[in-house]
Amino acid sequence: MKASVRNIGHVSVVDLSGKITIGEGDVVLRNTVQGLLDSGRSNILLNLEKVTYMDSAGLGELVACYKRTKEKKGNVKLLNPSGKVYDLLSLTKLEEVFETYKDEKEALVSY
């Protein structure tokens, strides 16, 4: 998986692409979010549009990032989960945990 960060005002948009799976994508996600928190950026929007699928480790890392960010009084929100990723979030009821947006601008003003 690839991750790249765009800082827009006080929000950091993380564009993810590929799969978020055990031992690979989950590590990239963890390190990227930790890097943002370490530099004091805790309003995080994960752009999932180009994420093809996740496994349970990827979903678990998403939750772990959420918790770590909340501890810093920030928030992790989700942008545009693809069909398969949306199914996974809904199946695991994680859609109840994460604020999810279809439109980036709308997501940005929500912080």
């Binding site: 496994d55 199946l91 695991t92 945990v97």
Partner: protein, 160 residues
């Protein structure tokens, strides 16, 4: 009509080999006639089962093996994953969608497995470990075959 096919894979208990099994299962599912999304679902279910066999069953001990068999005919695909661990009682695992568990960073594997295939069977094999069998039908699942989706229906229809 797709003639029956099968592959069997044996790996040491290493997470970095999970993708090999995922890809092999996906390919056999495609050969069996599943569409792209259906093959990915099968592969994800096999993937989660193999991750559990590696981590929980074999404790990531590279000297312990995980055996995977994927076989398919024109009716259904069946995958069997065997580890060398002590086994477990699936009914004792917590529901990851219960509100008190929603923020846990693990515990979602079996939920995904059950969501992505039609039947899941667990069996302790004496002197061997846990055997998990997954079945996915090519059509609309066991209900379409008129057996009410009972998890043991497959057992009776196939010889082992």
């Amino acid at each position: 009509m797709v003639p029956p096919t099968s592959i069997s894979l044996v790996i040491p208990s290493e997470i970095r080999l999970v993708d090999v099994v995922h890809t092999a299962a996906e390919r056999v599912a495609e050969i069996a006639g599943f569409d792209e999304d259906g093959a990915l679902n099968v592969a994800l279910a096999v993937r989660e089962t193999v991750i559990n066999a590696i981590t929980h069953g074999n404790g990531r001990d590279p000297d312990l093996r995980v055996e995977v068999e994927v076989e398919a005919d024109d009716r259904r695909l069946r995958a069997t994953v065997v580890d060398q661990g002590a086994g477990f009682r699936p009914e004792d695992t917590p529901d990851p969608t219960a509100s008190e568990n929603l923020l846990r960073s693990s515990g979602r594997g079996l939920l995904l497995v059950r969501a992505f295939v039609d039947e899941v069977r667990f069996r302790r094999v004496d002197g061997r470990g846990m055997e998990v069998t997954l079945v996915k039908y090519l059509t609309d699942g066991p209900k379409a075959a008129g057996n009410g989706g009972r998890p043991d229906a497959e057992e009776r229809r196939t010889e082992r």
